[in-house]
């Protein structure tokens, strides 16, 4: 059994089912992100782990111990909130030491631990300040130190970076990841920012409408999204609709011709099928992949190092990224060209699942 195990969690508020049969095992020391749109139930799952909400059914165990019925203050779980939630009447050091004091840790020992935590978050000299004398980023670091000071078994972070501005968000997320790895603490990180989730997680749970649509390593989620929802939510994606002709060789007929993926597709022949493409999988001009489609350039966006081009093929619009190279300027608008795709880069979406999850 995993270190933190959530099994068959259900939660409804009134008639609205917010979390539906949620299952997840997290290993000790693992960093897992919950990624999903607003209202999909991320916070609710987190609050059930913390003990602020009681699941209607299902069980939560930590290290083999069932904590489903325990009160929040009986669980050994650290929590970091979006709004920092530092105690305004206490200094930074007193905030960090709060959990230790509650636990009855001796003063000298608590003092040492507080100093250690303040050093860990890089604010060793700010112990005497009050929260209102700190910047947002500093406050959130203190909140992290406060949550970690009593050595919890699990750390929960609910969109800890969304109140901060972009630059600090990026540096602080790296810092959180470093601290998490140094302490080896089992962590759940809630976010609706895909870049955040992709860049710092061991695993990502993409949530939609209260269910876990897909759980996997960041590369897996990005490169092999299983459902249309995941594919759309994580990164940019173009889709081609087609009909499966030959499941064994992966031959699919599209509006603009036939393509063969050269790998079996586990669907009956004649099934409607959706092929998805990342912008970086498409190349301008023929000869850079097994699949070549005729295309017409409809938009060109110069983004600096990357040029994003939209082309149209057989009535479908595709996004395509190329690196900027001074010697090969982007094609003019409206010009007729070709795009090539490596068959191995084509993502076959699991449509049956997508429809199930989409309601």
């Amino acid at each position: 059994m995993a270190f933190l195990d959530l099994s068959h969690l259900e939660k409804a508020f009134g008639a609205m089912r917010v979390v539906k049969d949620f299952n997840l095992g997290i290993d000790k020391g693992e960093f897992v992100s919950f990624l999903g749109p607003s209202g999909c139930g991320k916070t609710t799952v987190l609050r059930m782990v913390a003990g602020f909400e009681r699941p209607d059914s299902g069980a939560i165990t930590v290290d083999g111990r069932d904590i489903t019925g325990l009160k929040p203050n009986q669980r050994s779980i650290g929590m970091v909130f979006q709004a920092y939630a530092l105690f305004p009447n206490l200094t930074v050091a007193e905030n960090v030491g709060f959990g230790l004091k509650v636990a009855g840790v001796a003063k000298a020992e608590a003092g040492e631990r507080v100093a250690e935590m303040l050093a860990l978050i890089g604010l060793p000299d700010l112990g005497a300040r009050y929260p209102f004398q700190l910047s947002g980023g500093q406050q959130q670091r203190v909140a992290l130190a406060r949550a970690l000071a009593p050595r919890p078994q699990v750390l929960l972070l609910d969109e800890p970076l969304s109140a901060l501005d972009a630059k600090i968000r990026v540096s602080l997320r790296t810092e959180i990841r470093e601290i998490q790895q140094r302490l080896g603490i089992t962590t759940i990180f809630v976010t609706h920012d895909q870049e955040e989730a992709l860049s710092i997680s061991d695993r990502i749970v993409v949530m939609n409408g209260g269910i876990a649509e897909q759980t996997g390593r960041p590369l897996e989620i990005y490169n092999r999204p299983r459902t249309r929802f995941v594919a759309n939510f994580v990164g940019t994606l173009s889709m081609l609709e087609g009909v499966l002709q030959d499941p064994a060789t992966g031959r699919v007929s599209l509006a603009e011709g036939e393509v063969t993926l050269g790998r079996p597709i586990e669907r009956p022949a004649g099934a409607a099928i959706t092929l998805a493409l990342r912008p970086e999988a498409l190349h301008l001009g023929g000869g850079r992949g097994d699949i070549v489609l005729p295309a017409r350039v409809t938009e060109v966006h110069f983004l600096g190092s990357v040029i994003r081009i939209r082309v149209e093929t057989g009535g479908t619009s595709l996004s395509l990224d190329t690196f900027n190279r001074p010697e090969t300027p982007p094609p003019p608008l409206g010009s007729q060209t070709e795009v090539s795709i490596a068959a191995s880069d084509v993502i076959v979406l699991d449509d049956a699942r997508a429809e199930q999850g989409a309601h």
């Binding site: 003990g51 009160k71 203050n73 929590m79 530092l86 959990g99 009593p150």
Partner: protein, 260 residues
């Protein structure tokens, strides 16, 4: 021109409030024929009954404040946290003492807790004192509740509570170490208002026959000429000192508040 008018209005207002005060103070200094003196004050302050009743009322005020804080802070906290739907009702109930005359309240008390009732509080001195304290708590409730509730509005009660819970704190710790310190300024302003109310209260103390400051002032007023004026000035000074302390505390507690 408008400026002149507003200054004029202000002047009239100030005069309206200060003239009686001036008259009273002036009168209280005229006990000795033909010259100003503090004789009336000396008589009042030297009166053992003054010392006894004033001491009694101060003690009652302190007990009332403690009782009020212990009653109101957890209630207001709980209503905000768990029963937000009940807030209008609780507010309505806390306003009732402003509508119901205290003479009605105290008669109700005497009927409910007389010597032949199920809880004969009026049968003993301690019981009657307790009854008076509860009565004072009720009188001060509108001010105390409003002050504390306003204080709670300035902090994120729900999130701070959850943060404390996740750090292992139970309800008593949360109230004592997180909630109360953050509404201390509000609690103190409620406390000073309570103090001012209790010091001057007459009806309850008189009907329960307790040796409080209010009935003493009344007694003195009925029997003497200059001393009541001196006493009124003293009572006025105490009230103003309370107001000043509220100001001081509000200013003092700013340093650990979120800058707004």
């Amino acid at each position: 021109m408008t400026r002149l008018w507003s200054w004029g209005a202000l002047l009239i207002g100030v005069a309206f409030f200060l003239m009686p005060l001036y008259g009273m103070t002036e009168f209280s200094l005229k006990m000795r024929r033909g010259e100003y003196s503090f004789d009336a004050y000396v008589t009042v302050l030297g009166d053992p009954r003054f010392q006894a009743t004033f001491g009694y009322s101060v003690l009652m005020a302190v007990l009332t404040i403690l009782c009020g804080v212990l009653l109101v802070v957890p209630t207001a906290f709980w209503v905000r946290l768990k029963l937000p739907g009940l807030r209008p009702w609780v507010e309505f109930i806390t306003l009732l003492p402003l509508v119901i005359p205290s003479i009605v309240v105290v008669f109700g008390y005497i009927r409910l807790y007389n010597t032949s009732s199920w809880l004969p509080l009026t049968g003993s001195v301690t019981g009657t004192n307790m009854l008076l304290m509860f009565g004072y708590t009720v009188l001060a409730l509108p001010y105390m509740y409003r002050a504390v509730d306003t204080g709670l509005r300035t902090i994120d009660v729900a999130t701070l509570t959850e943060a404390a819970q996740s750090l292992g704190a139970g309800w008593v710790t949360i109230l004592a170490r997180v909630i109360l310190p953050n509404v201390l300024g509000a609690v103190l302003s409620g406390a000073f208002l309570t103090f001012a109310i209790v010091i001057g209260e007459f009806t309850m103390a008189a009907l329960l026959d307790r040796p409080a400051f209010g009935p003493y002032m009344q007694l003195l007023g009925a029997n003497r000429a200059y001393e009541p004026a001196a006493l009124a000035v003293i009572a006025f000074a105490i009230t103003w000192a309370c107001m000043g302390l509220i100001q001081l505390v509000t200013r003092f507690s700013k340093h650990n508040r979120v800058a707004r």
